[in-house]
């Protein structure tokens, strides 16, 4: 061959078979981590979408950069706890600043979000370059994440037994907490998301659940950024829920469906990245975009095809009649 191919040749064996034979253990941890990250982000994301907080999520993820950089400069450690505290503090500061600007000026939420997250993110970028010699943080990894490194991480032990790479175990615990909180507070989250006025009149404080969700969202983002990076974590928050909501009219179903989509992103994103020798988080997000596109077209309830058909068909039986007098 004269020149290098633009896209690597698709080799079934190398893309789908080898990862599960020769490197099965590595592949397992990578895909599991991808699923735990996008599954947890997706569950929280369903509520984030319904409460129109998607941009706030994006803002929180970007503000992690200065948060963890500062935490590192102060403690000189890359342990989980200081990183977690720095990042959650950054998330809280972000949300507080957005709210402060909104309430004390005429600037609306979207502009306030833009102002806060871009300036905090820039502070992070500058901190990293000024203290480049002191900050042993891989900016590339913070921005884009690297799922491929997961099997190389320290192994967590349960007593004497090896259980798996530490980040995967940590993410698994976060996922279990997310499910636990969801089961415990489903009705509160449902009513505060749908009708804050009614919730307040029932004695269920909408602000308390709003803060709770924001705080938990920060924790989930912090736990996820090593894998998918602060730029793409928002994709994992929005895509599973948004795609699921195209398919179902009920929140409880949307939560299940979003989890299934997350698994699909993890598996196919991994194989796409293996084929193209690219970032796995990038692969997962591309798959998420493709799946969204397909569902957007073919969804039986809200899809473009169904809309086009019902607009152009003379068959009136296709439209379910609604009797307004009943």
């Amino acid at each position: 061959m004269q020149r290098e191919r633009l896209i690597p040749e698709f080799d079934w064996n190398a893309v789908f078979v080898q990862p599960w034979s020769e490197y099965a253990s590595n592949s397992f941890w990578i895909v599991l981590m991808g699923f735990l990250v996008s599954g947890t982000c997706g569950l929280v994301g369903c509520f984030v979408i319904l409460r129109r907080m998607a941009l706030v999520g994006d803002a929180i993820s970007h503000s992690l950069l200065p948060g963890i950089t500062l935490a590192f400069l102060l403690t000189h450690s890359r342990d989980t706890l200081p990183m977690m505290i720095g990042a959650v503090a950054a998330g809280v500061v972000t949300v507080a600043l957005i709210e402060a600007i909104r309430y004390s000026s005429r600037i609306k939420a979207d502009a306030a979000i833009g102002i806060v997250f871009s300036s905090l993110f820039a502070v992070g970028v500058i901190l990293i370059s000024v203290f480049a010699d002191k900050v042993d943080l891989d900016a590339e990894c913070v921005l884009y994440g690297e799922l491929g490194f997961i099997p190389l991480q320290e192994i967590a032990y349960f007593g004497e037994t090896e259980i798996g790479p530490e980040p995967v175990i940590r993410m698994g615990i976060i996922a279990l907490i997310a499910i636990g909180l969801l089961v415990a507070f489903y009705k509160e989250m449902l009513v505060t998301s749908f009708d804050a006025g009614l919730a307040a009149s029932l004695g269920i404080s909408p602000t308390r659940y709003q803060y709770g969700l924001t705080l938990f969202l920060s924790i989930v983002i912090v736990s996820s950024f090593e894998s998918v990076g602060v730029v793409l974590v928002i994709a994992m928050i929005i895509f599973p829920g948004a795609t699921a909501l195209l398919l179902t009219d009920r929140l409880s179903n949307a939560l299940w469906i979003s989890t299934a989509f997350s698994a699909c992103y993890a598996v196919f994103g991994f194989h796409l990245a293996t084929w193209l020798n690219a970032s796995i988080a990038g692969g997962m997000t591309v798959i998420a975009g493709i799946v969204f596109g397909i569902i957007w077209m073919v969804s039986p309830g809200q899809g473009l095809i169904i809309q086009f058909r019902s607009r152009h068909s003379s068959n009136e039986e296709a439209l379910e009649p609604i009797n307004p007098s009943l």
Binding site: L50, V191, F194, G197, G203, T248, I322, P324, L326
Partner: protein, 274 residues
């Protein structure tokens, strides 16, 4: 004997709703000044006034959604927080996102949430109550339908069913008649009357002056202050309306005309309540 025939509050402590000298301000600009209001048990109180008079603000302040700059509110003699389970709420229809992924049954079940403790799920009994409430507003066949696939009138009925599911003693309703068809309006007023006969108290924000005197036995005429409050026949006078609406004569003459016509037919608003 219906409680509403009692013209004045009998006991200070058991009145379902007592508002004293309430002032509410949005960022320093007061929107409600010195509101005094007592709703006796079994009354239907209409809150009437021009746009921006603070009608919805009053309901939100009663529920503690907006802080009071001064004054106090008592619900069954207690602060609102201690009486939540005795208060039902019907918000304005536009206040929620009807694309939300819930069906009619889910919405009505929310009315039961205040009675469930934290972390508790609705029980079979709660579901049966919700079904009965949907049946009452003739929406049972639509229980499984996603709420954006309902007409405006049907959506309002779902909200009403949810309020019924709250099984409260005091109901606060924000414009329940807006954007509904005539059949729904008649159905809603029937249910309001039925609630009244069960001794419940209702505070209803309403903007249609032509129907107000027929629907309510007490009227609060509001325009940032209380213009007048009392029994409908005492309050609903041309002079009071002019004070509240500031001489927007097109509305007023229309109301005066329709009232005069009704009087001529011998159909006084009182006869409806008997």
């Amino acid at each position: 004997m219906l409680a509403h025939s009692n013209p004045e509050p009998s006991s200070k402590t058991t009145d379902p709703l007592e508002v004293h000298d309430l002032t509410v301000a949005y960022t320093k600009r007061p929107v409600l000044y010195g509101i005094d209001l007592v709703a006796p048990p079994g009354s239907i109180v209409g809150v009437v006034g021009p746009n921006g008079a603070g009608k919805s603000t009053l309901i939100k302040a009663i529920m503690g959604l907006l802080p009071a700059a001064s004054g106090w509110i008592k619900v069954f003699g207690k602060p609102f927080r201690q009486a939540v389970t005795r208060v039902g709420y019907v918000p304005q229809r536009e206040s929620v996102d009807w694309d939300f992924p819930v069906n009619a049954m889910d919405v009505v079940l929310m009315g039961r949430y205040g009675r469930l403790g934290p972390m508790k799920r609705p029980t079979k009994a709660d579901k049966e109550i919700a079904m009965a409430c949907l049946e009452k507003v003739k929406m049972l066949p639509y229980a499984k339908r996603q709420i954006s696939n309902l007409s405006g009138g049907q959506q309002q009925r779902v909200f009403l069913a949810r309020a019924l599911a709250q099984e409260s003693d005091l109901y606060l309703m924000d414009e329940p008649f807006v954007g509904v068809d005539a059949a729904t309006e008649a159905a809603i007023i029937d249910i309001l009357r039925e609630l009244q006969q069960q001794g419940k108290t209702l505070l209803v924000v309403h903007h249609d002056l032509t129907t107000a005197p027929d629907y309510f036995d007490r009227i609060l005429l509001l325009n940032m202050r209380v213009v007048a409050y009392g029994r409908t026949e005492d309050v609903f006078t041309f002079e009071n309306l002019q004070n509240a609406y500031g001489g927007r004569l097109s509305i007023l003459s229309e109301v005066a005309l329709s009232r005069a016509r009704k009087k001529a037919e011998g159909d006084t608003p009182d006869s409806i309540h008997q």
